[in-house]
């Protein structure tokens, strides 16, 4: 079966520093996969390479079997790749509803329309609003994003990504900086994701990882240390030493 996402020999260096060193990685269709590793292991960089925000120094990236290494970010999104950012990357002066509407509108290929008013596509606005309801953001719909709490902004990150209806969803620490009330919402939303959507989550919160992931990959200094089912990973002494021992934070 073709992987939903695959990287072959993926490598990235910033000057002399190698941040991703020959990563071979596969994400199965419908996967619930976690990528863990200490701070600075290169997890975010790996995601940026996959989405095209960064250009790899070597290696290739494949979406559903197609080599997308040379494609720009927008083309990868069109092929079903969605992501959230570790640090909120939102339109802070636009309303929560506008933030999500923007994503839905791009997904439907309407983002470049010039001669019809944005509001004339009620269906797009309604779809965005339904996502807000799902993420318990409805009451903030008309507030500018900058005015709502950081934890709730994390939910907007999630809503935007879901507005793209991706086939491969990359979540970069969705629960980082989120109070526990919102963590529950995030987990609930993640558990309700469609079964055919492949999900890769980067997360330091091991409780969340263990509740969600069926497979875990451990990244250390830019290279894959090991990969396996959660029980195997937890039992691996190298993982205990390198990751859980030193770098664990909540």
């Amino acid at each position: 079966m073709t992987s939903a996402l695959e990287t072959r020999g993926l490598r990235k260096s910033f000057g002399a520093m190698v941040v991703t060193s020959g990563v071979d990685f596969r994400l199965a269709p419908g996967a619930r996969h976690a990528l863990i590793g200490p701070n600075g292991a290169g997890k975010t960089t790996f995601i940026n390479l996959i989405t095209g925000r960064l250009t790899p120094s070597a290696g290739s990236i494949h979406l559903a079997g197609e080599d997308v290494t040379a494609l720009p970010q927008s083309a990868r999104v069109k092929r079903g790749l969605g992501r959230t950012f570790q640090i909120n990357t939102l339109f802070s002066n636009l309303t929560v509803l506008e933030n999500v509407t923007m994503a839905v509108s791009e997904r439907l290929g309407r983002g470049g329309d010039k001669f019809r008013f944005a509001g004339s596509r009620r269906d797009i606005v309604e779809e965005a609003y339904e996502l807000l309801i799902r993420l318990r953001l409805a009451e903030d719909a008309l507030r500018p994003v900058r005015e709502i709490a950081y934890g709730r902004q994390r939910l907007v990150e999630m809503a935007i990504a879901l507005g793209l209806k991706p086939r491969v969803l990359l979540l970069d620490e969705p629960a980082a900086g989120v109070p526990s009330a919102e963590t529950a919402v995030i987990l609930e939303v993640m558990e309700a994701l469609p079964a055919d959507m492949a999900v890769l989550i980067i997360e330091h919160d091991m409780d969340l990882v263990l509740r969600f992931a069926k497979t875990i990959t451990v990244l250390v200094r830019g290279a894959v240390l090991t990969e396996g089912a959660p029980a195997e990973i937890l039992a691996d002494p190298r993982v205990r030493e390198i990751y859980l021992g030193e770098g664990h934070h909540g």
Binding site: T51, G52, R53, P72, Q73, S74, R76, V77, K78, G82, R83, F85, T89, L90, F91, S92, N93, L94, T95, L97, E98, T101, M102, A103, S105, E106, R107, R110, G111, G112, D113, K114, F115, R116, F117, A118, G119, S120, R121, R122, V125, E126, Y129, L132, A138, A141, L142, R143, P144, I160, G163, L164
Partner: protein, 330 residues
Amino acid sequence: MFLYRAAPTLSPVEYMVRSHRLRWPELLPWLAILAAFFAFPSYLALGAQVMIMVLFALSLDLVLGYAGIVTLGHSAFFGVGAYTAGILAAHGWGEPISGLVVGGAVAGAVGLVTGLIILRTRGLTLLMLTLAVVSMLGEAANKAGWLTGGADGLQGITLDPLLGLFHFDLFGRTAYVYCALVLLAGWMFVRRLVHAPFGRSLTGMRENTARMHAIGAPVRQRLVTVYAIAAALAGVAGALQAQTTQFVGLNVLSFELSGAVLIMLIFGGVGRLYGAFVGAPIYMVAQDALSRLDPEYWFFWVGLLLVVTVMFARGGILGVVDQIRRKVMR
């Protein structure tokens, strides 16, 4: 913005679906333009110039205010439009509307080509490149004296009657109405554009380019598109100026003109669609008055006004109006 809280009774979806509806304050500029026609019959020529600058500043708002492209070279397109229309009219093609269209089209083409090249860069590099474009065009116009009149300016522009009916009269009545109608069309076009998904995505790119990429928007393509559209509009404004003043000087391709239109927009308020309508008249009238009071140093006073605006009223005059409204509504 205050608008979002203005209608608490509507559902969020309803609110957003209606967000492009015309509000009464948007009609104020048109009432003013109409009133000025009757109230100041001896200032119609100045009025036409003001409207031309409003259109020019409006085109800059698309690029700077919405898309967030900081440029000091916007006069390049005004100048190309002015020279195109002027040269056409000086060589016997005096039909005004087609001259306007061709002026806009040529400026738009120049915007497209230069945009494709320079919009690969950002920040200071981009700023310098916009400056370079206008400097090069200015120098080219200077060198091509046989075509442009060089430093003496382009003369001999004669226009046919508008629509074959209305002669451009000495009092500037036809010119005033002509400029008003072109500005009206330009405003309707820009208003539609900024309320369309395309316009919203420009704001998105200004707010957060990384996010725009991540939702799959072809960012550079949109930037080039809006750059070319704004260039065409600026070209129309330039063409209007060439036609109504029947003269084109090298100053239309100057860095000073780019700076002036930028100041107008900052006075009025950037990224608000109506900043141009407020800033350009104030600048032009202030220029008119100040240069009479203090012909040598009037620009000093403009500079001072600019410093005050930037330091104490970041959103320009409309920004201040917004703040006051917000306070009153709380």
